[in-house]
Symmetry: C2
Subunit: 141 residues, 2 copies
DNA sequence: AAATTTGTTTAGAGAAGTTCTAAACTGTTG
DNA sequence: CAACAGTTTAGAACTTCTCTAAACAAATTT
């Protein structure tokens, strides 16, 4: 089923890699395509590794980690820490928040508009706000 | 310097352990005292292990982990996940939020009143809200 | 287009944090 | 105080992630 599409380089993906100062290698292009095609979703390094393998893309786990961090640094992904032991990455980089299902260890998006914060404290002097994360932890009834 | 106070069992600590169905063992009493005396603070398992050792309390790391989870489950502590690789525990169990200093990997409390959330989405059907965590990630200017 | 340079990938080792195991121990109960 | 059930412990094991150094590939130079 799943076949590798080496022949269609996806211009926007190439541009984004170039902007980030990253060479468009076979691995990075394949992973970027996988992520683009996936739509908004949350995944761990292991999950992306498995997904890549399933799509016929041979990439080492070390490269998965490198790439996830590079993409995160370049603003193509967002890292979310909600449970001890593993990091999630989010392909949705717009302003938004998350539900976290404690039982299943899964995340789902909350549109930015759906969480209205009326007031926040000033950041401590000498610091600036990088991001405000709201996580609504839910559990099964 | 720091000496062990085996002789003063701290009635409230004993009560809390009893309420949680936990036997008041030497280790649990010592750790509970350390945490009570510390006031509001955030720490990792390793940090508590070091603090216990410094206070002359001999406790294995496995017991630190067991105890932290038991105390968290009993509502005496709160677990906070903000950075991949290690969990923090919080002795402040009142309703409040956190600043997270990305450079130093440290937490500080924000009083519950200082974050006003005007609206939140409904939890997905079949689930209830366990907790809403707001983390303001700040970095040095 | 070959040669050189520089950045990238890889397997496997290594590190860090946490959990597991099974034996020894301790608090509780009868 | 004996017997039971829960607890602690050291160390092994496990999971997630990072490091290393050698092989490799993309870019640059000639």
């Amino acid at each position: 089923m799943a076949s590798i599409q080496k022949s269609r380089p996806y211009a926007p993906v190439l541009d984004r890699l170039k902007q980030a100062g990253l060479r468009p290698t076979r691995q990075r292009i394949a992973l970027a395509k996988l992520l683009c095609d996936a739509g908004d979703c949350h995944f761990t390094a292991e999950q992306l590794h498995a997904k890549a393998a399933a799509a016929g893309v041979r990439v080492s786990l070390a490269t998965i980690y490198n790439t996830l961090h590079q993409f995160t640094h370049a603003g193509l992904l967002r890292e979310i820490v909600v449970s001890p032991g593993s990091s999630y990455f989010d392909t949705n980089i717009s302003d938004h928040h998350h539900f976290f299902f404690e039982g299943r260890g899964e995340l789902s998006d909350i549109a930015g508009d759906d969480v209205v914060i009326a007031s926040l404290p000033q950041p401590p002097s000498g610091t600036t706000v990088d991001r405000v994360d709201v996580v609504i932890r839910v559990k099964n009834i």
